[in-house]
């Protein structure tokens, strides 16, 4: 009798759980998306959610019975905190944009789904379609924890008006430090004859940008070892001292640049995209014509710059892994959405085929008549050759320290001999 009762009880429980499971599976599935308003690249952006909404629309059309929710209006500077709070509350979105400073934190604490197998098993996705630096940016300890969504590159901004006034041609995309130094020396002068320099070669060219284009790799990937003391770094510092000496101790300001008294300034693609077309072009840099070229190559490096990438990741606690993965692919893999990036945002797509197949005027849509110095192929090549920024845990602290030390060397406060070793 007792056994029979138990069997009946077990049977009832089984039926209830099946019914519950059925009911649960019939429920409308809700995916949460974590995004921030505005641009990731410190430039003003108008239609914040245009691409997102398009992606959601397409995704919902393909997956009926699914709902997508996101919180709008979170500013980029608040986003990191917002995401952390959501994680603590156990209420984080299924997939979310991830700032580069946050990637290592979440990947190391196991908060992100390991996508390596998903990527391998998915026929629609191939690592080859992506720029190496962008794709690898989502890797942590050789496993993919995030997919790239959009990237931006650093280019050299050229003041065309100033150069033509001095009778200098716009440098080619394969120019070198030597060319850079030469032009800087030529343009740096006192134009109004008051005995003070008022025309300069460059503004905001950082030692990191120089080091990258000379092939210096500062740290091992895990950040435990640094390579400040090698010959490439020494070359870089020597070059920077020479470059610095051109200005004879004058500190060039942004104002000098804005009024058109500076020949070169490194600019990200996002900034380029923002300020070149209407309406922003009226607001800034109206006094002169400008264009951009690749960064100048160091003797041991190339025309290389840093590729900054916005990542999308999936929470390791998501209840709808497969659906979330499909949704994620909409952003990172769908050609239509990737193509939209070119028109609706200031960033570059991360798919190589999308960039190469686009027309120059698609990318540089602001002025069809305005012939740009670089082509989509140039951009693609630069992205292929670009390197990704370091993102280990104490990178910012380490960099802050290195910044101060190297500035001292360049300004001549500290002799070069051995000081790099010390820094190391």
């Amino acid at each position: 009798m007792k056994n029979r009762k138990k069997i009946i009880l077990a049977f009832i429980i089984l039926i209830i759980s099946f019914a519950g499971f059925y009911f649960y599976s019939q429920q409308k599935k809700i995916l949460h998306l974590g995004i921030f308003a505005g641009s990731n690249w410190d430039v003003p952006q108008g239609e914040t959610y245009a691409i997102i909404d398009e992606a959601i629309k397409d995704f919902l059309a393909e997956n009926p019975g699914v709902q997508v929710k996101y919180v709008s209006g979170i500013k980029r500077e608040d986003y990191s905190e917002w995401l952390a709070e959501k994680f603590i509350e156990g209420d984080e979105p299924d997939i979310f944009f991830l700032l580069s400073d946050d990637f290592n934190l979440y990947a190391s604490m196991g908060a992100l789904t390991d996508l390596t197998n998903l990527i391998e098993d998915d026929e629609e996705i191939s690592e080859k379609n992506y720029y190496q630096a962008a794709f690898n940016f989502g890797k942590f300890e050789k496993k993919s924890f995030a997919m790239p969504f959009a990237s931006t590159l650093t280019f050299m901004f050229v003041n065309k008006t100033l150069l033509s006034k001095e009778g200098i041609e716009i440098p080619k995309n394969n120019w070198t430090w030597k060319d850079f130094l030469e032009i800087c020396r030529k343009v740096t002068k006192d134009t109004d004859g008051d005995g003070k320099l008022d025309q300069f070669g460059f503004y905001g060219y950082s030692w990191q940008q120089a080091a990258i284009s000379n092939g210096v790799i500062l740290f091992r990937e895990d950040g435990k070892t640094s390579y400040f003391a090698n010959s490439q770094m020494e070359e870089t510092v020597k070059f920077l001292i020479e470059l610095h000496d051109v200005h004879q101790g004058y500190e060039v300001t942004e104002k000098d640049f804005d009024i058109g008294h500076v020949a070169f300034r490194p600019f990200t693609f996002a900034e380029y995209q923002t300020y070149k077309p209407y309406p922003w072009r009226i607001k800034k840099y109206t006094a002169f014509e400008w264009d951009c070229v690749k960064m100048p190559a160091g003797p041991s490096g190339g025309n290389i710059s840093e590729l900054n990438t916005l990542l999308i990741a999936m929470s390791s606690r998501t209840k709808n892994k497969n659906l979330a993965w499909k949704f994620m692919k909409k952003f990172c893999c769908d050609k239509k959405i990737q193509r939209m990036l070119i028109k609706k945002s200031q960033a570059l797509p991360v798919r190589r085929d999308v960039i190469i197949s686009s027309e120059a005027q698609d990318i540089f849509s602001w002025a069809p008549e305005d012939k740009s110095a670089i082509t989509p192929a140039d951009i693609s090549e630069t992205m292929d050759n670009s390197i990704m920024p370091f993102k280990f845990r104490n990178y910012s602290t380490a960099m802050l320290f290195a910044d101060a030390e190297i500035l001292k060397i360049i300004n001549g406060n500290v002799p070069l001999n051995n000081s790099l070793n010390k820094l190391n």
């Binding site: 709070e85 603590i88 196991g110």
Partner: protein, 438 residues
């Protein structure tokens, strides 16, 4: 072994206290998490956390659920009598304990002591100390291993504490240490009580054993005494009986014979008469003796037909001893003499007693058979039997009694113990008075 109310009470106190600590610690971590979110320092908290935090509600309810499960399993473990199931329960208890530790972010490992307390409560085997030591080392090893694998997956308690200012931090850490210390004190106290309880129990059993032994001794002395009293009384009765019957008759016969000797030559006729009288007296004496002997026989033999008496006797014995006794009679002699009946009765009685007392038998089979010349009685039991039979008082008596009737007895061990007695039957003669005394 029973546990005193004190030990059980202490055990309950240990559980209540640990429940309280778990509640406080979990509530503290949940509150801190909520505060962190409210005061917008979530990002820097995650930097310290190293691992994905569980939401407050989940953490809290999981703690309550797991602790409830721990109490339930512990209770089952302590009550369960099954030999192997208790090990399953113990393993389950350890697993639940590990999950609870993990849920508490390993901030309180006093829980391990709780499992040890349960283990101690239950275990009292032969190699108690060694087993306990091994179990405790294993438990701590598991706990440490647990910590090693969970280390990267939990948020350290200090990450929570670091949210507060330095003064509060010191207070919180001091409180946590106090919680842990009090737990250890309670645990040690519990152990002392448990050991004391075990000791008291042993002492009590020892005392009871002593009392039992004493009572046994007294009973034995009393049995011997009462046997002697019965013997004396029986002797006196026999003496009285002999004096009254045989003595009286013999005295009369002697006096009569004396008179006959005197008168034999003078008056043979009178002497003849006198001798007749003497014969009557002797006859009367014999009747008296017979009556006396009858008085010595068992009641059943006296009141019932012999076969009925035997059945009655075995039935009574079966009822009083709990042995199952079967009785098969294949052939029977109706003209058994009283002395033969007596011997058969005694042989059966003695064999049944032996089967019960020495063989610890539960079944006895009695078979009576034979032919015109012999009656054979076989008593077989399913008891332990014995390899080398020592002839005790009972068996020797049996043999002696049978030999008086020219009978024999054999006994051996097979699947139990078997006694086979054989009595020659007196041919044709009915109640032969002449053989009565032989």
């Amino acid at each position: 072994m029973s546990k005193s109310i004190k030990v059980t009470g202490m055990h309950t106190l240990l559980y209540v206290y640990n429940g309280f600590v778990i509640f406080i610690l979990t509530a503290f971590m949940c509150m801190t998490q909520d505060k962190i979110v409210q005061s917008m320092v979530a990002r820097s908290f995650l930097e310290d956390a190293i691992s994905v935090p569980t939401s407050s509600a989940t953490m809290f309810y999981t703690a309550i659920f797991l602790f409830g499960a721990l109490i339930f399993i512990s209770r089952l473990y302590r009550k369960n009598e099954h030999k192997y199931f208790k090990y399953v329960l113990l393993a389950l208890e350890i697993i639940v304990c590990m999950f609870l530790l993990r849920n508490l972010n390993l901030s309180y490992d006093g829980l391990v002591l709780l499992v040890v307390a349960d283990l101690m409560y239950r275990y009292h085997g032969h190699y108690q100390e060694i087993t306990l030591l091994a179990a405790m080392i294993l438990l701590y090893f598991i706990a440490n291993y647990n910590m090693a694998i969970f280390q990267t997956k939990i948020i350290s308690f200090s990450a929570y504490v670091s949210y507060y200012n330095v003064t509060t931090q010191a207070i919180i850490l001091a409180l946590r240490n106090t919680f842990y210390s009090i737990n250890i004190v309670l645990f040690v106290f519990y152990l002392v009580m448990l050991i004391k309880n075990t000791h008291e129990e042993k002492e009590r059993i020892r005392l009871l054993n002593e009392q039992l032994e004493e009572a046994n001794q007294r009973l034995l002395a009393y049995a011997i005494e009462s046997e002697q009293i019965a013997e004396t009384r029986e002797r006196n009765r026999l003496a009285r009986e002999i004096h009254d019957t045989l003595g009286h008759a013999l005295t009369g016969i002697i006096a009569g014979l004396d008179a006959c000797i005197m008168t034999l030559d003078i008056a043979p006729e009178i002497t003849k008469k006198q001798l007749n009288k003497i014969r009557d007296t002797a006859k009367k004496g014999i009747v008296d003796v017979r009556r006396s002997v009858k008085k010595l026989r068992p009641d059943d033999l006296e009141k019932l037909p012999f076969q009925e008496a035997l059945r009655q006797m075995t039935k009574n014995y079966s009822e009083s001893s709990g042995m199952e006794i079967t009785f098969d009679i294949f052939s029977w002699s109706d003209n058994l003499r009283q002395d033969q009946e007596d011997v058969i009765y005694r042989v059966l009685q003695e064999s049944l007693t032996n089967a019960n007392r020495h063989g610890h038998a539960t079944k006895v089979k009695i078979t009576i058979g034979g032919d015109e010349k012999y009656l054979i009685i076989v008593i077989a039991d399913n008891g332990e039997g014995c390899e080398d039979v020592k002839q005790g008082f009972g068996l020797r008596h049996m043999r002696e009694r049978l030999e008086l009737l020219h009978g024999t007895v054999h006994y051996w061990s097979d699947a139990g113990f078997i006694v086979e007695a054989m009595i020659p039957l007196n041919q044709g003669g009915k109640n032969n008075d002449k053989n009565f005394d032989s």
